[in-house]
Subunit: 309 residues, 2 copies
């Protein structure tokens, strides 16, 4: 890492008990309290794919790069502790861009007590790439997994869905405190965050849990942005289509035993609303309710990176 930039950063990234050495060495030493319950995740964001640098304040790109990783920790009900940040910066204006990216990250890191413990800062002739690795710890209840869902579980979600491209995909609040709160106070069977699309991610959770899922489409909390997007664009997609498949909502998707789900819905213990949208069922695949007793197949929609062979 460029030594001048490192000096700039070292004054902003304070030493914390979790990383007592600061940024000086080849690697960061971590003082973890839960060695058996350490959780680690990584996400890479690229200019032109995950944000468009020419169109936004770069601080929002930096913030998003950290936030998506914290959302992955929230998905596991892990408390974030530390993060490492690697940058490939375009040569022209790279230093100023690096500072802006960190200015976007550091307030979110401070808000959620995340220490930036290391990284790698490079410049090159390509577009901006940000790779963040986040480390967290799970509590006494262990991690929340995708695979713990059981037939009959209610499917709960936080927040609203669709249209995140209008801005929320950059400025969303990762559901870190919400996830910890729910996992501690209620019996949750399975959980994940919605990054690629509500129906695509739900189909993944159902498959990981060896069951299927049925959605009551009338219950999906549709965001105002999804409505705006449907009105604005001429691609024929409804606001519900946007809610079901846009992705980057970064809300929590949970499978919860019915009695506990009722308790959560009654308590509404979070600042963000929790909604029941369906149920895990024995029959594999994704379904929608059709009347009282029957169901129709539902095609999972969402975003997948496609790799050409």
């Amino acid at each position: 890492m460029e030594s001048e930039f490192l000096a700039w950063l070292q004054h902003r990234v304070l030493r914390t008990p979790i990383a007592p050495l600061g940024l000086q060495d080849d690697a960061a030493l971590l003082r973890l309290r839960e060695p058996d319950g350490t959780v680690v995740t990584t996400d890479m964001l690229m200019d032109g794919t995950d944000f468009r640098l020419g169109e936004i304040d770069p601080r929002r790109a930096g913030r998003k790069a950290l936030a998506v990783n914290l959302s992955d920790l929230a998905a596991m009900a892990a408390k974030p502790l530390a993060a490492l940040v690697s940058l490939a910066l375009p040569r022209a204006g790279g230093r100023a861009l690096a500072e802006s990216l960190y200015e976007g990250m550091l307030p979110l890191a401070a808000e959620l007590d995340v220490a930036i413990v290391g990284g790698d800062t490079n410049s090159w002739d390509g577009p901006l790439v940000i790779s963040v690795t986040a480390i967290g710890e799970v509590g006494a209840r262990g991690p929340l997994l995708r695979s713990g869902g059981q037939i009959g579980d209610w499917i709960l979600v936080t927040g609203e869905f669709g249209g995140s491209i209008l801005g929320r995909h950059l400025d969303f609040a990762p559901r870190v405190r919400e996830s910890l709160r729910l996992h501690e106070a209620y019996e949750l069977h399975a959980g994940m965050d919605i990054s690629d699309g509500l129906t695509l991610d739900l189909s993944r959770m159902a498959r990981a849990s060896n069951c299927g899922a049925v959605l009551d489409l009338s219950q999906i909390p549709v965001s105002a942005a999804a409505v705006r997007l449907a009105e604005r664009s001429r691609d024929g997609l409804t606001h519900l289509d946007h809610a079901l498949g846009d992705g980057e909502d970064f809300e929590l998707l949970l499978a919860v035993p019915p009695a506990e789900a009722r308790r959560i819905l009654r308590d509404q213990p979070l600042v963000v609303p929790i909604t029941a949208i369906g149920q895990l069922v024995a029959e594999a695949g994704l379904w929608q309710t059709a009347g009282e007793t029957s169901r129709l197949p539902l095609s999972p929609q969402g975003y997948e990176h496609r790799l050409d062979s």
Copy 2:
């Protein structure tokens, strides 16, 4: 991550005790044994900067991306445990490239017992970017730091220097076992790996240790590649210049108390030779010996990413 590629990878990345859940969830759960001594590092490699994809077998690029991170763990005398791999792949042929990169990484990971526990695989319109995060643990002696050097310590290095661009920068063996062996059997004061250039990295270690360093240039182990490079190119650089400044040698640089250094030199406990090349001194800065009693300033040479403001 693309689900087909994930399926391909999951068969090659076996479940290990350290990461009992496999690759299915939003983050990897780690079972670490040393709560106080976890070490984490990250390095990002870009096509055109750290390798030229058009000119090499891509497996070598993948291997290098893991190896540089393992070298950073070796620098801290940490035993590698796990790694996460994020890729930004060019769209055309991305799937085949991803497989090649992993085919380069997995044998090295297997050789050094490193579990690939997670990652993020993307495609885009830019050149290949590989970001690896490696996690390790330190033993009872704690980590080896840059800042532990003391005035009078001998400066020892493993291996030979210079000319790594001719091939060794891709195929080097990270000094993982060597570092663990030395740190366990001898009293080392400070250590790091040589990534940016022997003199530049030594000047960093000396500064971190609040002292200076004097090199005996006649003792620098110069590689055959440095000699070939000096003969071949017309830039006026000698083989010694290459040894002092090329970087990417990924050898160990150690500060060791004199009696212990003599013991190491006598024992030569590694498969790779260990050489004494100088000493830490009270006077700040970097120096070269000149006769028996005097010294001359020496300018640190090496590679630094420069960030334009």
